[in-house]
């Protein structure tokens, strides 16, 4: 079942098995992915007029794979080959499997692609929605704002971006690297409907994401205030869990932190 605890368990299991990192970034968006896949796009991910989901912060792919797996959109066989030679699931998502619309890993490219998907829907008067999950540090990328201004100009009201505002990037705190300040105000300034939300409050996240159903003309930015590494106490807000992989002891402790045993 797709729950906040289960998605984190899958993230930890696969990261441990593959001895790979990017764990904190995946944990950060775990609740966002639960709400997105369980409550918003469930049952709408197939066919030409399907909802599109783009994980622009591709390094958090484990959260995407876990959400797809737990919602029945990805087979266990594929999941278990995460980062294995010849497997389909790498550290960053690659197209060619159901549920991955667009290959990411280079930050700041997802929103432009998603704007193209949303524009296509607008041109042919289709109803599909396009969701993008991006990182706060992706707001450093100029191209993010090229796409943001374009989407507002074109009234792409069925386009939604969820910004994972965890204040952490590869080499430090975002406030020490490039201050982003009031992100809601920044998205509002370029014409978006923007809302602040606790990125770990699933009910609040659902309310925010459902604003897409209001049929407005503005694209929607959900500024999800999150904690890097959320759910695993010793990883929370710790920079090393951007890249580090877990030792046996780390894994045992992490699973215990979720309230279960390995």
């Amino acid at each position: 079942m797709l729950t906040s605890v289960e998605i984190r368990r899958v993230i930890l299991d696969r990261a441990y098995a593959a001895r790979e990192g990017h764990i904190g970034s995946a944990l950060s968006i775990a609740d966002i992915m639960v709400v997105l896949y369980r409550d918003v796009v469930a049952g709408r991910l197939r066919g030409k007029a399907r909802d599109r989901v783009v994980l622009s912060k591709g390094h958090a792919a484990l959260a995407l794979y876990a959400a797809l797996y737990l919602s029945g959109e990805l087979s266990e066989e594929l999941l278990l080959k995460y980062c294995e030679d010849g497997g389909r699931l790498g550290i960053h998502p690659q197209h060619g499997i159901h549920g991955v619309e667009f290959t990411t890993g280079s930050l700041g490219q997802g929103l432009s692609f998603a704007s193209g998907c949303a524009l296509a829907a607008q041109l042919c008067e289709e109803q599909w929605r396009t969701f993008v999950v991006c990182s706060d540090a992706e707001c450093d990328e100029g191209a993010t704002w090229e796409a943001a201004m374009f989407a507002a100009q074109r009234h792409l009201g069925r386009l939604v971006v969820v910004v994972d505002y965890n204040h952490q990037q590869a080499l430090g705190n975002t406030d020490d690297v490039i201050t982003l300040g009031d992100l809601r105000a920044r998205w509002e300034a370029v014409g978006w409907l923007a809302v602040d939300v606790d990125g770990h409050d699933t009910a609040a996240l659902e309310c925010a994401l459902r604003l897409v159903e209001r049929n407005g003309s503005q694209p929607l930015a959900v500024i999800a205030h999150t904690t890097f590494g959320k759910g695993v106490a010793f990883m929370e807000r710790q920079l090393r869990w951007h890249y580090s992989s877990m030792s046996d002891d780390d894994y045992a402790l992490a699973i215990a932190s979720l309230g279960t045993t390995p």
Partner: protein, 304 residues
């Protein structure tokens, strides 16, 4: 060439709803008829070439055939990684239209000189790379490629007047078009500068040097066998392109010579340094880099 290409594109937009034209705020006095006819499908995204490439990828992913239009440098360079991670990686029918190769923007200077676009585009697997020699060939090339399943790069000359005699609107994907046959040397030319190669060929003929002339308007898929066969019958080949000498047609020809084991000397006529810190017209810059007909004649004679 640009007018012929845009006119052919206009017809495509009339015929097929899938075709969408995106511009990064360029095309003044060129795109207006298309905007008038298809206001919904000609979209100005502002000065934002990266986003243009990304949006085009999303459109193509959803069944459209997007053309992205800008000056060749901006179209090819600014959004290159978006083109690579988007249209190339996903094998989508994005059409990148780069206006004005080489020195066609004259006194506008280095920022407007596309000198590496062909090289950058041809190294990407699955990218069809087209550099027509004149307007009629540009229109024919568009008609031959617009519906290909993968991405296409078009280097479209800015000047509308030039006509390459004997070419007669011929274009085939993956082939060269041979205009002359002679045994003393082979001139291989791509893009609008092919007209200078044609003039050089005529002048050489007048002094008793008989040259073959082939227009390589499709650099990828590479017409490898045809180029090898042409090289095989001459002692000397000169490649002619308004492009850095590395990466474009000259490099492509060197690859064919090396890999096919052809015994033929190669002179790569192109741009061999960064053309900045001085200004000049297209004609001046082409002379300065020895790409005009008179210089090409001299290079053939010197190399024999």
């Amino acid at each position: 060439m640009r007018a012929a290409f845009v006119s052919a594109l206009h017809h495509l937009m009339d015929e097929d709803e899938r075709v969408v034209l995106l511009t990064a705020d360029l095309g003044f006095h060129v795109l207006e008829p298309l905007i008038d006819s298809h206001p919904q499908r000609v979209i100005n995204l502002g000065v934002a070439e990266q986003n243009m490439a990304g949006v085009a990828t999303g459109l193509a992913h959803s069944g459209r055939i997007p053309f992205i239009y800008s000056i060749a440098t901006f179209a090819s360079l600014r959004g290159y990684e978006f083109i690579r991670n988007g249209a190339i990686v996903h094998g989508l029918p994005v059409r990148v239209v780069g206006i004005g190769g080489g020195f066609e923007y004259g006194a506008a200077g280095i920022s407007h000189y596309a000198l590496e676009d062909l090289g950058l585009m041809r190294i990407q697997p699955g990218m069809t790379v087209v550099a027509p020699a004149d307007g009629a060939q540009a229109a024919a090339a568009l008609r031959a490629t617009w519906e290909l399943p993968g991405p296409v790069y078009y280097r479209v000359g800015k000047n509308d007047g030039a006509v390459l005699p004997e070419l007669e609107a011929r274009f085939r994907v993956g082939h060269v078009e041979v205009l002359r046959r002679g045994g003393d040397a082979l001139l291989l030319a791509t893009g609008a500068i092919a007209t200078e190669a044609w003039r050089a060929c005529s002048q050489l003929e007048a002094v008793g040097v008989s040259c073959s002339l082939a227009v390589v308007a499709c650099l990828a898929p590479t017409p490898r066998d045809e180029i090898a066969s042409l090289l095989d019958s001459v002692p000397l080949a000169v490649t002619v392109e308004t492009h850095y000498v590395d990466g474009g047609l000259g490099s492509l020809t060197a690859e064919v010579i090396a890999e096919e084991g052809v015994h033929c000397r190669l002179v790569r006529a192109g741009v061999d340094s960064v053309p900045d810190r001085y200004s000049g017209s297209q004609a001046y810059m082409e002379r300065r880099f020895r790409l005009d007909a008179a210089s090409l004649v001299k290079r053939v004679l010197d190399a024999r």
